[in-house]
Structure formats: structure tokens, C-alpha cells
């Protein structure tokens, strides 16, 4: 169980999220939709524990443990994964070095390099990526599509329990979207208890991954929650009448 209880978050003393609550049961997919500037990315980053966001009130719980004050790396080690909307370039740091470090740091089992390389090779095939990708520097000179695929590659290596996808669909064509859906299906198949939060402001991705719940976030508050039937409705009416 993953729950957010009355969460309020500020950046530089500016209040962004206001008393937001959300509860996700094992296996569920929740979509968070809303217009630009409504606080969607802030929610994602706050769940991850990114330090620039100040939690002024409320509690985040995961598996019965309060994680509100844990640093990001400890949340990640507990199984929370955030796919970044705009991942930064890290010149000099090779893709494979990061993947290896992630696994060595986070996995409970002892690390076997040969087996890990084999595993990563499988992921590259799934993502239709060349082996040479591993030798490139993280996000350095990557196209928009390559950045998204690198996030997916890390997701596969991370094998999370809670997955937050922050606009993984933005700027992707239909084939790339299908690829995202394919990866998510695999991750879910491997871990049926996976709890997923999909942040988006388009419904396109939700045609491929049907959410159990849809929440509309406006001005830092959830103004409407429903099942997937809300999605086409929002497509027609937009957010204007909710503002």
C-alpha cells in the first residue's frame, strides 16, 4: 500500500501542493491529469524526495513506513522509481556504469556481472536499442526519444515497487508510445503488485495503459477522481470548467 495523506509542498516558500491525499493499492494504476502548472511534477518529485521541495505538512507512507523525511536515495532503495520528465545530461558518466551502480546499490542479491550484462542485453532488445548505447554518456547529446528510452531502461533495471512516470509520453510518436506501453506491460507482468502513477496531460498514453483511477489535479489540489471513463470526457471538455 502506498498512501499520501494531506500533503502540502512548497518551493521557495511558494505553496504548490495543498492538502493532497491519494491511496494506491498493490497492482493499481493511477493517472494524474491536469493543466500545466497544476503541480503534477511537484507531486512526482515530492514522492521521490527530491530535496528542493519542502514538505510543509502531511505524510507519505509506503509499506507501512513513513517515508516523508527520507532522502531520495533511501526511497529509491525501498523501491520507488521516478521517470524524469527532463533528465539531466551527465557528461563522463557512461550509461552502463550508472545501470551497474544502480543494481549494485539497490539489489538484495549478490551482484553477478555476466548475468547482469545478459539481463541488460535483453532490455536493449525490448527497447530496440543498440548495444553501443551502453557506452554513451548519460543523456549527453541524447535526442528526446533516446532520453525517454533511457528512463525506461533504468526502470527495467530498477525493478521498482512504486513507479511514477512523469510525462513519459510527451513528444513521443505513436510507435514510441506503443513501446512505452510494451515496457510497462512487461514490468507489470514481472511484478503484478506494482503500484503505478502516470502523470500526463494527454489521454493518448491512457489508451494503451488503462488506469484504475484518474485524478484531476488543479492548483495543487485533486478536484475530481473517477475511473478510466473520465479520460475521454476530459478529452472533450478540457480542464476549463474545473479551473
Amino acid at each position: 500500500m502506498f498512501s499520501i495523506d494531506n500533503l502540502s509542498v512548497s518551493i521557495d516558500d511558494k505553496s504548490i501542493l495543498k492538502n493532497l491525499s491519494l491511496e494506491i493499492a498493490p497492482g493499481q494504476v493511477h493517472a494524474i491529469m491536469g493543466p500545466n502548472g497544476s503541480g503534477k511534477s511537484t507531486l512526482a518529485q515530492s514522492i521521490m524526495g527530491i530535496s528542493s521541495y519542502e514538505v510543509t505538512d502531511g505524510v507519505v507512507r509506503f509499506d507501512g513506513v513513513t517515508i516523508t523525511n527520507l532522502p531520495a536515495h533511501q526511497r529509491a532503495q525501498r523501491g520507488i522509481f521516478l521517470s524524469f520528465q527532463q533528465p539531466p545530461a551527465i557528461p563522463g558518466l557512461r550509461v552502463f556504469t550508472l545501470l551497474k551502480e544502480m543494481r549494485q546499490t539497490n539489489a538484495k542479491e549478490s551482484f553477478d556481472l555476466t548475468a547482469f550484462m545478459q539481463e541488460v542485453k535483453g532490455y536493449l532488445e525490448l527497447l530496440s536499442m543498440d548495444h553501443s548505447f551502453l557506452e554513451r554518456n548519460c543523456n549527453d547529446g541524447f535526442s528526446g526519444g533516446e532520453r525517454k528510452r533511457f528512463e525506461l531502461l533504468q526502470l527495467l533495471v530498477a525493478r521498482p515497487k512504486v513507479l511514477i512516470l512523469d510525462e513519459i509520453d510527451s513528444g513521443l510518436d505513436i510507435d514510441a508510445l506503443k513501446l512505452v506501453a510494451k515496457v510497462l506491460q512487461k514490468v507489470k507482468a514481472d511484478n503484478p503488485d506494482l503500484m503505478t502513477i502516470i502523470i500526463t496531460h494527454y489521454n493518448r498514453i491512457l489508451e494503451h495503459i488503462v488506469p484504475d483511477y484518474v485524478h484531476v489535479l488543479v492548483n495543487g489540489q485533486i478536484v475530481q477522481s473517477s475511473d478510466a471513463a473520465l479520460v475521454p470526457q476530459l478529452e472533450q471538455t478540457g480542464y476549463a470548467n474545473l479551473l
Binding site: H73, R75, Q77, P88, G92, T105, N106, Q154
Partner: protein
């Protein structure tokens, strides 16, 4: 870096009084039973040292007090120091970077028996059979006087600069290496094998002569911090790469934060010879070091790959000098610098292509990485080309480790320290790849250790 400024007691059989004068220089020469020509060489150098002004360019040397330095300390024959008296901080650093116990003892100046002595004896026999000479400089002066005199001071004359003059006057310790024609030494010669000599002297002087077609890789220092009671380290290193030979010289030095490290290193590469300086600079208060290669013969090649790390209160003023004097010569400079907690790094480089050195090629790349806004980095490249038909490339970059990068890596389960280390290791990878395996491992550990002390 850890504070390693507290000294343990040091026992010496002869210590010159502080400051420098003719009598002290005479005493040094006498203590060493040197021939008259060396005594006279030293005295001439002393006059040059006194006549020369302090450099006004480069790092700030205004706090360096020449009167407050012991210019000669003769170490005891059997050392009385014990492991227990080694400063705690140094021990901690050794542990953190995983230096083997035997090596730790030696580095801390503790006289101890250890296995490498046995290995060294075996190697020594193998080298001697090939005609290789590897000994300390004073021994070379006694046992190989002609060879010594033929090359000593020919690459870096005493009048080259104030600190070369100083070293010429008071030099003590350092390595002498002679590799006969066609001999390729298959493993690196390491200064720390010479456990009973002053391998880490204050004014050491190293001379390497590679006869035609020979190869040698010399390694000095290691990643452990070297504590120096005296605050001035001023070495001179001369390399002579005769036609078709190849000399690689690797330095990893990590000085305590009170040291002025002012070193002159220069190589001459003759026809088809190749010289490489691999130079890693950690610690010290001020380092001024610009390994130089004079490409004197056709098709000679030179390469300088360096890293410098500057922390709080430190200025690493380092770089490279390449002088192309002959046609078809090539050079490559890669300089990486890191500054954190208010540290200051400077790249100072000279590329000179003389008239007649046509079809020369040179590539220079200098990259600086900063960890915060209070650190500083700057570059002073000088390029002086007197020939038309040449090919020169120059690239420079300055980047900063951003909060965003650290947060991204932290969100992948990596601690902030480990994240910094990952970024740095990626940045200096090109340098680490050039090191012998055991040094590469040490450097990676050292970087991780350095990052622990860093403020975010």
C-alpha cells in the same frame, strides 16, 4: 582532504640549520662525499638561486619563506619511528583508500621489513643482467660517474628557473635510471621499491636515460598523502629519450596541505622517440608544475595527460609545455582539473612550433569541473607557431556539477557522495585509463574519499 598537518617526531642524524648559504651547500656536498665538480655545480646554482627573482606569474608564493626551510635532512639509517607514532589522520586515509599495510608503513616513514624487498632483489638481478641501472642519484654519481656527468643538468640547466636553481644547489635523493639500447623493461619501475633510499625527498632529482630503441615506464609516488615536515618540495626531473626509445613517466602525488610543490620536469625526445608524462596532482597548498617535452628529432611524439584536484585553500597551477623543433612531430595534451570547497585550479600551457617543424601536429584538450560557486578555475593557453604547414586542435570546457545531476542520481538509489564520485570518475576516466591497474584502483578510492569531505 583530511588534516594531516600534525607531525610525528622525526629523527635525523644530520639536519642543516634553517635557511640557505654557501656553508650549508658545502656541508651537503661533504656529507655526501661528492666529487669536486658537483660541489662546484651546487655552489654556482646557489648563486643563481639567490640572483633570480621569485616568479611573479602563476600561483601566489608570497607566503613562502625561504629562511624557514631546512634544506637538508639526512634520514637515520635504521628508522626509529613506529606505526603507533604515525598521525591518526594519515592512518585513516590509508585505510580509506586501501593501501596495503606494508606500503603504508613505508609511506609513513616507518622502517619495516616487508615482502616487496624480496621481490625487489629478484627484479634488481634481472635488470642488472640486462644492463639496466636503477639506483638513487648519489649512488649513480659514485658508481657511474661518466654516464652521470654526461647527462646530469643537460635538460634542465640550473639557470632555467629559480626553483631549478634551488634544486641544483641542494638536491638529495631521487632516482637514476639507465636503459641500454634495445632493452624494453616489461614492468613499471617504481620508486617505492627503493625502500632504503630517499625516494620521496624534498629536493629530489631524477634522471632517466633511454638508449635507442629502449622502453621504460617509471612510476613515482602513490595516492596516499605524503606528510612533509618542511613546507617546500622542489624536484627536478630530466628525461632523455634517445632515437626510437619510449619513456613513460607516471606521477601520482598527494601532498599535505602545507606544502609548496614547485617542480620542474622536462624531457627531450630525439628522432622517432616517444615521451609520455602521466601526472596526477592532489593536495598541497600550491602546486606549480608544467611537464615539458622538447620534440627535437623528426617524428618524435609527446603526450601529457594530467589531472589536478584543488580543495579549500589549495591552488593547483598545472599544465604542460610542448616544443616542436623538428618536422613531423606530434603532441597531445589532455588536462583535467577539479575544484571544490573554494579550491582553485589553473591550466597553464605552452605549445610552441618552431620554424622548420613543418607537418607538426598537436591536439590540446583541457576540461575543468567545478563543484560549487566558491571554487575557481582558469586557463592560460599560449600558442606560438612559427610554421605554416601544421595541424593544431585546441578544445577547452568548464562545467559544474549541478544539483540537478546529483538529485537525478540520488533518485536512482545512489548516495550524494557516491553520486559525486561517479561524476568525477567519469570525468577523469581518460587519465585513470593510463595508469597501471593498482594505481587506477587507488585513484578511484582516493576520489571517493575526497568526495566525503566535500560540502554539497
Amino acid at each position: 582532504m583530511s588534516d594531516i598537518s600534525k607531525a610525528s617526531k622525526y629523527t635525523a642524524v644530520y639536519t642543516a640549520p634553517k635557511g640557505l648559504n654557501v656553508q650549508i651547500v658545502r656541508d651537503i656536498s661533504e656529507q655526501k662525499n661528492e666529487p669536486a665538480w658537483m660541489a662546484s655545480f651546487r655552489l654556482k646554482a646557489l648563486a643563481l638561486f639567490e640572483a633570480k627573482k621569485m616568479p611573479t606569474w602563476g600561483a601566489d608564493l608570497s607566503e613562502l619563506d625561504h629562511e624557514d626551510v631546512h634544506y637538508y635532512v639526512k634520514p637515520v639509517e635504521t628508522q626509529s619511528k613506529t606505526w603507533e607514532t604515525v598521525p591518526e589522520e594519515i592512518k585513516k586515509t590509508f585505510e580509506a583508500i586501501g593501501i596495503p599495510q606494508a606500503e603504508r608503513s613505508m609511506l609513513a616513514g616507518v622502517g619495516a621489513q616487508f615482502e616487496s624487498e624480496v621481490i625487489y632483489k629478484q627484479l634488481k638481478k634481472k635488470w642488472a643482467d640486462q644492463g639496466v641501472i636503477f639506483c638513487d642519484m648519489s649512488t649513480a654519481l659514485k658508481e657511474h660517474p661518466e654516464l652521470f656527468k654526461k647527462y646530469f643538468g643537460t635538460v634542465i640547466p640550473s639557470h632555467d628557473n629559480k626553483f631549478a636553481a634551488l634544486n641544483s644547489a641542494v638536491w638529495s635523493g631521487g632516482s637514476f635510471v639507465y636503459v641500454p639500447k634495445g632493452v624494453k623493461i616489461d614492468m613499471p619501475l617504481q620508486a617505492y621499491f627503493r625502500i632504503n633510499s630517499q625516494s620521496m625527498g624534498q629536493f629530489e632529482r631524477t634522471l632517466i636515460i633511454a638508449e635507442p630503441g629502449s622502453y621504460v615506464h617509471y612510476v613515482e609516488g602513490c595516492s596516499a598523502p605524503v606528510y612533509k615536515k618542511n613546507s617546500l618540495h622542489s624536484a627536478v626531473v630530466e628525461l632523455i629519450a634517445l632515437p626510437g626509445s619510449h619513456i613513460r613517466y607516471t606521477t601520482i602525488q598527494n601532498w599535505s596541505g602545507n606544502v609548496y610543490n614547485l617542480v620542474t620536469k622536462r624531457a627531450v625526445a630525439y628522432e622517432d622517440a616517444k615521451v609520455e608524462w602521466i601526472d596526477g596532482n592532489f593536495g598541497s597548498k600550491v602546486t606549480m608544475k608544467y611537464p615539458c617535452i622538447v620534440l627535437k628529432g623528426k617524428r618524435a611524439q609527446g603526450q601529457v595527460i594530467s589531472i589536478a584536484v584543488a580543495s579549500k585553500g589549495q591552488h593547483q597551477d598545472a599544465g604542460a609545455k610542448i616544443i616542436h623543433l623538428a618536422p613531423y612531430t606530434t603532441s597531445n595534451i589532455v588536462s583535467k582539473s577539479l575544484s571544490k570547497d573554494g579550491g582553485h585550479t589553473s591550466y597553464r600551457g605552452l605549445l610552441k612550433i618552431a620554424k622548420g617543424a613543418h607537418h607538426s601536429k598537436s591536439k590540446i584538450q583541457c576540461d575543468a569541473l567545478m563543484f560549487d560557486d566558491i571554487s575557481q578555475t582558469d586557463t592560460y593557453p599560449t600558442i606560438d607557431v612559427k610554421e605554416q604547414r601544421v595541424d593544431i586542435g585546441h578544445e577547452a570546457s568548464v562545467s559544474k556539477v549541478s544539483e540537478e545531476q546529483l538529485q537525478y542520481l540520488q533518485s536512482r538509489g545512489i548516495t550524494e557522495q557516491a553520486a559525486r564520485a561517479l561524476i568525477v570518475n567519469g570525468f577523469i576516466d581518460v587519465f585513470v585509463k593510463e595508469l597501471p591497474m593498482e594505481y587506477a584502483v587507488e585513484i578511484n578510492r582516493l576520489i571517493a574519499h575526497e568526495m566525503e569531505g566535500s560540502i554539497g
